[in-house]
Structure formats: structure tokens, C-alpha cells
Amino acid sequence: MITALFYKEWIKTRRILLLSLLVLAALMIYIFINVEQMFRINGATQVWTETILKDISVLTGIQWLPLILSILFGVSQFVPEMSNKRLKLTLHLPMSENRIMFSMLAFGLSGLLILYAITCIAIIGGLRIYYPQEIVLSMIESSLPWFLAGLAGYLFTAWICIEPVWRQRVFNTLIAAYALSFFMMSAKGGAYMPFIPYLLATIIVAHFFSFYSMYRFKDGSQ
């Protein structure tokens, strides 16, 4: 049954997954062209010095992308469920409702994690050619909250989409927007590291929010 449910989710989200992969690949290519140009024009000494002294990261262009893609992904997965109340049919599958919701979210989170993992591996592999490990680590540490914002953004999108009452959706959106701002604060490379466990805790907590919307949907809240 879970395989069938995953296939259903795949049908809904495959286009957006492919689009996300293409957008991220294009951005990676752009970042590496940019880095190559910086080293060619300014020289390695100048680029390394500026990176160390001014805490410049070549990954700043990626900042909003994981979040935007995850919201699109969440919308593509959950809006069809809410149109004509199709979620009712899904919840009538021969599985417990909690298991159905958990599987749907697990599918989405797995998809995003695979996408982000591929991106991070490409970034680390590519940048290690140009920079020493400390600089690459610092850049990855800077961008880690943005990828976590992607995961949180997806979960908040699910929470908002499944919520049956429009007024409550607006409140949920305000709460989610403010919560996501904690992932996007401007900070020096590595400054976010003490906060990462709290961001992970937020993601774990946010995972349960969709279940609350689902209960409200099932109860017929209007």
C-alpha cells in the first residue's frame, strides 16, 4: 500500500522534482563558472584573502532557492489533495490516517533530502578544487540553515495546505513565515552552528503540525 501511495505522490510531484533538479544544476553550473572567473581575473591569492578577511561566500545566490523549491514541492503535493476534498479519499485508504499522513510527508522529505544531498555533494566536490577545506566548510556551514529552511518550509506548506479553514490558513502562514525567518538571519560563516540543533528540533516539531490540520479536516472544521 505504501508503494502505491508513494507512486501517487510521485505522479503529483515528478514535474516539480525534475524542475528543481534542473534549477539547482543550472545554479551549480553558474556558481562554478563564477568561481572560475574570479580565480582567473583576480588570482587565487586575492580571492582567498578576500574570502578569509571579508567572510565572502560564493553560495549566497543559493540562499532562497531550497525554500522556494520546497514550497513549490509542498504545493504540488498537497494542493491537489485539497481540491474537491480529495484528501478524504486518500484518508480512506486501508491504512491508518496517521500512517497515510506520515508516508506522504516522508515521501516529500526524502525527495527534498535527496535533492539537497546531491547539491551539497556537488558544492563540496567542486569548491574543494579551488578552496582549502576550512573555507569550503565555512561556506557549507553558512548555507546549512538555508537547506534546513527548505525542509521546514515544506512541512509548513503541508500544514497550511491541509488546514481546512481559510482564516486559519492565513494565521498559519504568518506563523510559518516568522518561524522561517529564523533560518534566514544574516550571519558570519559558522555563526549558525550553535543554533542548528534548535533548527532541527523545529523541523521535528513542525512535522507534527500537518497531523493537526488533518485531524481538523477529518472533523469537518469549516
Binding site: 504568518l174 507534527f208 493537526y212
Partner: protein, 415 residues
């Protein structure tokens, strides 16, 4: 249904925590203004700390007794602070207290240093630039490599992104010879290529010994300062003073401040004659001249100002300016018993900090709790829950209850 209730509580706590950050932050934006202290500087003529109001164009200076001085008098009474103006007016004295006064001397003895807790609470990439400390040409040149020093010293060539084994080996041998123990606790230096000259880095080794490491004529220079024998070192900031009198400012674990002087090839820590500062919260500013250093320490209570003899760093006068609570202090004391912040004035790191401001705010909490518990129609249990929750969390909790569904049972029934 139990799961629904449990998740509701989770969401409620989450939204309340967000509110404990958002609402005080918004309120602070509208009410906060920085503390306003007068500028204080030690007059080498009057021999006392004087107050300067730069907005006042007629009588900008006031002494401790309250006497006011005109702009021309202010320039003359603070010749070491206003020497550029006195030079233009051709009024610069030849000497003060037997010390010859010339612009080059005054400029070389001029010190401005600011300590902020952020200096020691900031992420470190772990890569440093080793300049040639005795360059053959004027000015510093960027080297072709950077170095890491956490577990071992390694120079990494910029162009090839590979280890320069020869240079790394030379420095490793010099460190071993000087008795340096890895892993390094921290490395402090000034990497700005526009500085006057280079004095390399001061590094605290595993045994809490402070080493001076630099490159002279392409060769490693490593010395144990032995300052760690007598001082429990917390941190160091390189200053590279214009007159090359000292290397920088050292702080011990207690918060005492020192300068590290060079004394015939040896290193000497000279303590500033001021009480220990709180390295986590206080800010310190040093404005030094040929004869006196004016040191201001800003804490939560107010601003302490000390005048030190520039040679001995002994205190010659001190005053305290009490802090007057601002609008934000009063508002926060009444409205927010606790605030959650993620960005901090004293650290570059991001982490949650719950600050309990004042217990007065529980009076407001009680009023809000009574409204939510008594006036909002709900079953008994829900009334009690809302009452206790708002009593404990105040405005943030009330807003969280309002934002989430089912605040009022009556409302649901009416639908």
C-alpha cells in the same frame, strides 16, 4: 483525539515561543534608544576628566566643578586631543610637563582601541595569513599561501591548493624547538594588509602558554612569552601600536586587561590599573595620548571612566556615570517577563537566549489571564488551562491562543 490535543499543545508552545521573540522585538524597535552618556576625556592641562558636548558650539567643554569653557579654551586645555586644530591655529605648545610636543610624536603615541565581547565570540575560519615581518619594500605584500594551525601548522599554496611542505616543516620544527604543544586553543593576529607593520600572531597552545609566531626574512620566529606562567589567559587582540611600544591587549579569565610590552627581547604584561571587566557583557574603549589614557568601561549599570598615566598605566582619576533607564527598560519590565532572542550584541553566534526581565510583568499577565480565563466562554477545564497558560506566558501566550483555532468554545457552537 488525544493526539490532536497533544499536537495542539505542541503548536501552542511553538507559537508562544515565536511570540516571545517577535512581540518584544517589535516593541523594542518602537521604544529603544541607545544610552546617552557625555563624552569624557582627561585634560593634560587641568589634570582632570572633563565632559565634552560636541553639539554645543559655544561652550563645548565642562570640568568636574561645572565650569564651562569656550571652543578656543577647549582646544588649549586638551592639546593632545586637539593637536591638529592647534597646529592649524599655530597654538600647539612646545612641551607639556617636560615632554616635547611635536606632531609626529603625538601621532605615534595616539591610541584608539575598542573592546567588545564580540571580539572573542566570533567564528574563526581557521586559516591565517602570515606576512613577512621585515619586508624589503615599504608596505606589506600578500603572501602566496595561507596557514592552518589547529592540530599542526600547515601552509597551503593559494595557486595549487596544496600543502607547501618545505615551509610547513620549517615552522613545525621551530614550534617544536620552542616547546609548542598542539592542539592550538586560539590564534590572534591582525590580517589586515593595510596595517603599518606586522608582528605576526600570538597563539595559545594546549598548555595555555602564549607563543609569539611570525616570519622574519622568510624564516620562522617562534618565542614562548612565558606570560601564561603568571596569568590565566582568556584572550588577546593584536594592536601593533604606531610607536611599537606594545603588541596588543591581553585579557585574563578574571577580566583584567594588560598590554604586552617588548622588554629587551622578553615579553612583559603590564596591567591597566582598572577593576576587572565582565568580558561577556562590558565594552571598553581606550583613547590614549602621549601622557594619559582615557579608558571608558560601559556596563549594564553605567559608564566607568578612568584616566591612566600612559607610562605606568596607573589610575590617576576615575568617575562613574550612572545609566538612566530608557523607555524600552520601563516598557519591557511591565509587559514581558521573559524575552527570547537569537541574535546578540555580545556575540556573532546565533543561539536562543531566554532573558527574564522583571517580575512586575506578572501583574499584566494576571490581568490578561483573568480576561482569558473568566470572560471567554469555555468549559471549566479549558478556562483553567487558558488562565494558567496566559498567567505564565503573558501577551505571547494570549496571542498564540488567539491565533490558533478553538480559543472560544462558544464560537464553534455558534457555527
Amino acid at each position: 483525539m488525544k493526539s490532536k490535543q497533544a499536537i495542539y499543545i505542541q503548536i501552542l508552545i511553538f507559537v508562544t515561543l515565536i511570540g516571545m521573540c517577535a512581540i518584544p522585538s517589535l516593541c523594542k524597535k518602537t521604544t529603544y534608544s541607545p544610552d546617552d552618556y557625555p563624552f569624557v576625556y582627561y585634560s593634560s592641562i587641568l589634570k582632570e576628566l572633563c565632559y565634552i558636548d560636541f553639539q554645543n558650539k559655544e561652550t563645548p567643554m565642562r570640568d568636574g566643578a561645572g565650569n564651562l569653557y569656550t571652543t578656543a579654551q577647549y582646544d588649549s586645555l586638551m592639546p593632545l586631543f586637539n593637536f591638529r586644530q592647534l597646529m592649524v591655529d599655530n597654538r600647539l605648545p612646545d612641551s607639556i610637563d617636560g615632554h616635547e610636543i611635536t606632531p609626529p610624536v603625538l601621532m605615534s603615541k595616539s591610541i584608539i582601541y575598542r573592546y567588545s565581547p564580540v571580539k572573542f565570540k566570533t567564528p574563526d575560519v581557521g586559516l591565517y595569513i602570515m606576512y613577512e615581518s621585515m619586508p624589503k619594500r615599504v608596505g606589506l605584500e600578500l603572501p602566496d599561501d595561507v596557514f592552518r594551525m589547529k592540530d599542526k601548522i600547515e601552509f597551503i599554496d593559494n595557486a595549487s591548493n596544496t600543502i607547501n611542505t618545505q615551509k610547513s616543516k620549517a615552522f613545525r620544527q621551530a614550534l617544536d624547538k620552542a616547546g609548542y604543544s598542539f592542539p592550538t586553543q586560539w590564534v590572534a593576529g591582525n590580517m589586515n594588509p593595510h596595517k603599518r607593520y606586522d608582528e605576526g600572531y600570538f597563539c595559545l597552545d594546549y598548555n595555555r602558554q602564549l607563543f609569539h609566531v611570525k616570519m622574519v626574512n622568510g624564516r620562522p620566529f617562534v618565542r614562548n612569552t612565558h606570560i601564561g606562567d603568571s596569568i590565566n589567559i582568556e584572550g588577546f587582540t593584536m594592536y601593533e601600536a604606531a610607536d611599537k611600544r606594545f603588541y596588543g591587549f591581553l585579557f585574563d579569565k578574571m577580566g583584567n586587561a594588560y598590554i604586552i610590552e617588548s622588554d629587551e627581547g622578553k615579553y612583559k604584561a603590564l596591567k591597566l590599573d582598572i577593576p576587572p571587566i565582565n568580558l561577556d557583557h562590558d565594552e571598553m574603549m581606550i583613547m590614549g595620548n602621549l601622557l594619559y589614557w582615557t579608558v571608558t568601561v560601559t556596563s549594564k549599570k553605567g559608564k566607568d571612566v578612568y584616566a591612566l598615566n600612559s607610562g605606568t598605566l596607573q589610575c590617576v582619576q576615575k568617575i562613574f556615570l550612572e545609566r538612566t533607564p530608557g523607555k524600552w527598560d520601563n516598557v519591557s519590565a511591565w509587559l514581558f517577563p521573559a524575552q527570547l532572542t537569537f541574535e546578540h550584541n555580545n556575540s556573532d553566534f546565533i543561539y536562543p537566549r531566554l532573558t527574564v526581565t522583571a517580575y512586575k510583568a506578572f501583574a499584566v499577565n494576571l490581568a490578561l489571564a483573568l480576561i482569558s480565563g473568566l470572560l471567554i466562554p469555555n468549559p471549566g477545564k479549558k478556562r483553567l488551562f487558558n488562565f494558567l497558560f496566559v498567567l505564565l506566558t503573558g501577551i505571547a501566550g494570549l496571542i498564540a491562543l488567539l491565533l490558533l483555532p478553538d480559543f472560544s468554545t462558544k464560537k464553534i457552537k455558534s457555527k
